[in-house]
């Protein structure tokens, strides 16, 4: 067991973890942050995307021990005081989700995307989301949502 101290969605945690524990499993099972999900075992799907110190990472592709001393934001940490994050709002408004399984990862990556490029074109949005698979939507409404969020100043 290794002891780690992390900040997740604003809360501080100190926990003992097995070194082999993936960050996503730590979030889901030890912290109960089940909003972040697992969709693959090869780092391809992006469903597990979270922000590590503000940048997107696939939480299935790192060990919890590697996050020691770092700050993580998950889909559950976006809304503040019951107020949806503009990206969440845009996903809803633009029907950018169907089953919703890819959605947490998609929203987190979209936020990262706008951090780099606050006013992306359609093509730039598509490229920025290349690491996130969605089987339901055909992506079109996701692209629309990200651009709407950009227009609404979603890069916060």
């Amino acid at each position: 067991m290794s002891r780690i101290t992390v900040k997740v969605d604003g809360g501080g945690y100190t926990d003992d973890v097995e070194p082999r524990t993936l960050l996503v499993h730590y979030l889901r099972e030890q912290l109960g942050k089940t909003g972040t999900v697992v969709g693959c075992d090869t780092g391809n799907c992006g469903a597990c995307t979270v922000l590590l110190d503000g940048r997107s990472v696939k939480s299935c592709s790192m060990f919890a021990v590697q996050a020691d001393g770092h700050e993580i934001t998950t889909i559950e940490g976006l809304a503040t005081d019951g107020q949806l994050h503009p990206m969440q709002q845009a996903f809803h408004e633009n029907h950018a989700l169907q089953c919703g399984y890819c959605t947490p990862g998609m929203i987190m990556q979209s936020i990262d995307l706008l951090a780099d490029n606050p006013d992306p074109t359609d093509d730039e949005v598509r490229l920025g989301l290349e690491g996130n698979l969605c089987r339901c939507t055909g992506y079109q409404n996701i692209v629309r949502a990200v651009r709407a969020a950009a227009a609404a100043g979603g890069a916060r």
Partner: protein
């Protein structure tokens, strides 16, 4: 008139944003894998690396003594207890099917079949111990190639004596729905046109994003099972039938389910084994598959060879179509495996007036993962065949492919129309959809550009692909299903509970997993009962709440489930009416129900449904005989299928130097009848078209010579990401269905059915002048390039 409680304009047709989003965008979701119960144990499966092998020994010693292990189960341990997995479709009375164990007992028949189950205190410990299970195999010859298997070269199940499961025929001459196809072909060989083609429908993987997951809790009075399934009601019945657990002691919950596309329309070995593990250990047990397991072991789709012979006059008027089909069942029959080609069998004539038609289908076993429903199920295959053939015919005749279609399609004034396969198309307007699509697409300009590029020898050629499709959806009239050999029915159930505060609970037997029923059903009920959209809650996916239902697949939910909801709403009003009459001291005949309120005609007097609900709840003032409930149930049996249709146009650029295909523009005009929620419909079309493009360009489950799936991860099984797809232009025409009160059809599968041939037609159209008349799917750059090399030679 009083206008106290006027609701906004009609809900039906309103682009409502979805109710279900709230939890999904905030991460407050309820996936099966989220379920954690005290003392819960975890399963790991040991799976066969061989496609066909005899198990000569399993050493579980090391695994049993591994840390945290509670049990290790093998086929030998469970031979009796596991029962056999069911199939629900019998294609012919003579159909052959092997016994289908959940865990292999002495032989394995496809790579990834389960041979041992480890039950441990943590998932990690279960994985650790699974690595220690030592299985000895004696490899057997495997039947892998479909055509070779159909010829019984190697037997997938030697004890069956053949790989042929069933041979199914439809002949329009025999059925009395048309002429003799052989005569039509013979006539066409003499002066007409005969087009003969072979198309391969490659093996696909549904690849829902949420891997399957099951939790079985045996504590308490009841067995509770959470499963990431499209069909909780099926799962409940089959747990009872297969494991002998009384049906009334089983509760199945499909909480939030992350996609299905037919892939979760199954009763699975993993469900059986999780329940058995829970029963044996007396503890809640969980199994969540990995993506690699999912790609290998969850059922696959398509995998057919189609041999087609089309007879036509010189002017392109089609005289007949003969279809010879080989359908790969894989190693076993799943729930509806045997019926998939049958669902396609009635659609090979598409939107056309073919006078003669025959289909023969052979269902064949191989040592591969079993196949079953995947979005479209049978109908994409049929639509692909006929829409590709229409392009080939146009090329042969030398006219625009749209013209050939127009020459053969059913004209709008000819509806209702009984097709050569005996289907009753109630409505449609192919002219309108096509005209609209052409306009949005800029058809004539693109044709002109295509011509310019051909003439200049541009290395990037442009192709235009057309697909004018129809499909039968709303599975299905029970009587029809029965006549086709399916054991189940096709009805759907709904109930409405009027709560004392005037809020409404709608319970549906459909089981959505992305389709937005919570929103759409709320719209239907809000309109019918005249209550605010927000006051309606739709409950589903828990057999304890939704006791009766046949779940979600086959684009059936709205046309059948939605209609059941409507019928239940009507019953609520019917039930409320005499009570309202009594309380208002009026004659029931003088009551009028509008805007959520019973009003006494010609007076100001009235009572809202909410007031009535409360009065009924109190019961104080009601007549003695009046039932103290406004709740109502309805079970709806559909009269017939519904037949959405549409025209999809695809412009694709082919880089002749590399073979790369880029979709430049894509227009779909779909006629799904009346629309409850245009936003949801558009989303379904986007997703459906994307999956159809996936079949055309990207996806294929490939096995190596030993039967191992080489596309066993998302590295190799290519699901398109955002940059790989274009933006679609979608539009609709609305020709209401006449087979249901709402005039709705189905939309879940339309995009997938339509888009594959549109894309492949575009690819072939781009390079036809270079000697290419077909590219096998998926049209990879490599395949396109090879076809160009071949074309250059010829």
């Amino acid at each position: 008139m009083t206008t106290t409680q006027e609701r906004p304009a009609a809900e039906v047709g309103n682009p409502r944003r979805r109710k279900e989003d709230a939890r999904l965008i905030t991460g407050r979701t309820r996936w099966t894998d989220n379920v954690v119960l005290p003392g819960m144990l975890h399963l790991a499966m040991v799976r066969s690396p061989f496609a066909h092998a005899r198990i000569t020994g399993i050493d579980t010693e090391a695994a049993r003594s591994s840390s945290g292990v509670v049990a290790v189960l093998t086929g030998a341990d469970l031979a009796e207890e596991q029962g056999g997995l069911p199939f629900a479709w019998t294609a012919t009375p003579e159909q052959k099917a092997p016994a289908h164990p959940s865990i292999a007992v002495d032989t394995v028949n496809f790579a990834a079949e389960i041979v041992a189950v480890v039950v441990a205190r943590s998932a990690a410990e279960a994985n650790d111990a699974a690595d220690l299970v030592d299985v000895d195999y004696e490899e057997l010859p495997a039947a892998l190639d479909l055509k070779a298997a159909a010829a019984d070269e190697v037997l997938a199940h030697p004890d069956l004596g053949t790989n042929v499961s069933a041979r199914f025929n439809f002949d329009s001459a025999e059925a009395g729905t048309g002429g003799d196809v052989d005569a039509a072909i013979a006539a066409a060989r003499d002066g007409g046109i005969v087009i003969e083609r072979e198309y391969r429908q490659q093996r696909l993987i549904p690849a829902f994003m949420e891997p399957r997951s099951i939790v079985a809790d045996p504590t308490g009075e009841q067995l509770t099972v959470w499963s990431s399934t499209q069909v909780p009601h099926f799962v409940k019945i089959f747990i009872a039938l297969v494991l002998g657990i009384p049906e009334h002691k089983i509760r199945v919950i499909a909480p939030d389910v992350g996609g299905g596309f037919g892939g979760k329309l199954q009763f699975t070995p993993e469900e059986v084994l999780t329940v058995i593990a829970a029963r044996r250990t007396g503890k809640p047990c969980k199994y969540s598959e990995t993506r690699s397991e999912s790609l290998q072991a969850a059922h696959h789709g398509r995998d057919q060879w189609q041999k087609l012979t089309l007879a036509a006059d010189r002017d392109g008027t089609v005289r007949g179509l003969k279809v010879e089909l080989l359908a790969n069942m894989g190693a076993y029959l799943g729930l509806v495996s045997a019926g998939i080609p049958i669902l396609g069998a009635f659609m090979y004539n598409g939107i056309y007036k073919f006078p003669a038609y025959r289909l023969t289908c052979t269902n064949v076993f191989t040592n591969k993962t079993w196949t079953d429903a995947y979005r479209g199920a049978g109908r994409p295959e049929a639509t692909f065949a006929v829409e590709r053939l229409m392009d080939e015919l146009a090329a042969e005749v030398g006219v625009d492919p749209l013209e050939i279609r127009e020459r053969n399609w059913i004209k709008h004034e000819e509806f209702p129309f009984t097709t050569v396969s005996g289907m009753h198309y109630d409505s449609g307007n192919y002219e309108a959809a096509t005209a609209k699509a052409k306009g949005l697409f800029g058809y004539d300009d693109l044709r002109a550009e295509q011509q310019r590029r051909r003439e200049s020898g541009d290395p990037v050629q442009l192709g235009i692909g057309i697909s004018t499709y129809t499909e039968m959806c709303g599975l299905a009239p029970s009587r029809w299903l029965g006549s086709m050999g399916y054991v189940g029915g096709g009805w759907e159930h709904a109930s409405i509970r009027m709560l004392p505060t005037g809020k409404v609970e709608v319970i549906t037997g459909t089981s959505p997993h992305g389709q937005g029923h919570e929103t759409a059903w709320s719209q239907i009920v809000a309109d019918r009962l005249g209550v605010p959209f927000e006051d309606v809650e739709v409950l589903h996916g828990d057999t304890q709440v939704s006791a009766r239902g046949l779940d979600t697949y086959g684009s059936r939910s709205l046309a059948i489930g939605g209609m059941a909801v409507l019928a239940a709403a009507d019953k609520v009003i019917e039930k409320a009416k005499p009570i309202a009459a009594q309380l208002l001291e009026a004659n029931a005949d003088d009551l009028e129900y509008t805007g959520g309120r019973f009003g006494v005609r010609g007076t100001e007097a009235g009572m809202s449904l909410a007031e009535l609900a409360f009065a009924v709840f109190q019961g104080h003032k009601l007549d003695g005989g009046a039932e103290r409930s406004l709740d109502a149930d309805a079970t709806l049996e559909p009269d017939d299928f519904s037949f959405p249709h549409g025209t999809h146009l695809c412009a694709a650029e082919v880089d002749t130097e590399t073979g790369a295909v880029t979709i430049r523009s894509y227009v779909s005009v779909d006629d799904v009848g009346n629309v409850i929620n245009p936003v949801i419909v558009e989303g379904q079309v986007h997703g459906g078209v994307a999956q159809g493009i996936g079949q055309a360009l990207f996806e294929e489950a490939v096995h190596d010579e030993s039967g191992t799936l080489v596309t066993g991860s998302f590295d190799a099984y290519l699901v398109a990401a955002a940059p790989d797809l274009p933006s679609f232009v979608t539009a609709r025409t609305e020709t209401p269905a006449t087979t249901n009160q709402l005039g709705v059809k189905g939309v879940g599968e339309a995009g997938t059915i339509a888009s594959t041939p549109a894309v492949v037609n575009a690819v072939v159209d781009a390079v036809r002048h270079l000697g290419v008349s077909d590219v096998e799917m998926p049209c990879t750059p490599y395949r396109v390039w090879k076809a160009l090399q071949e074309g250059a030679k010829s």
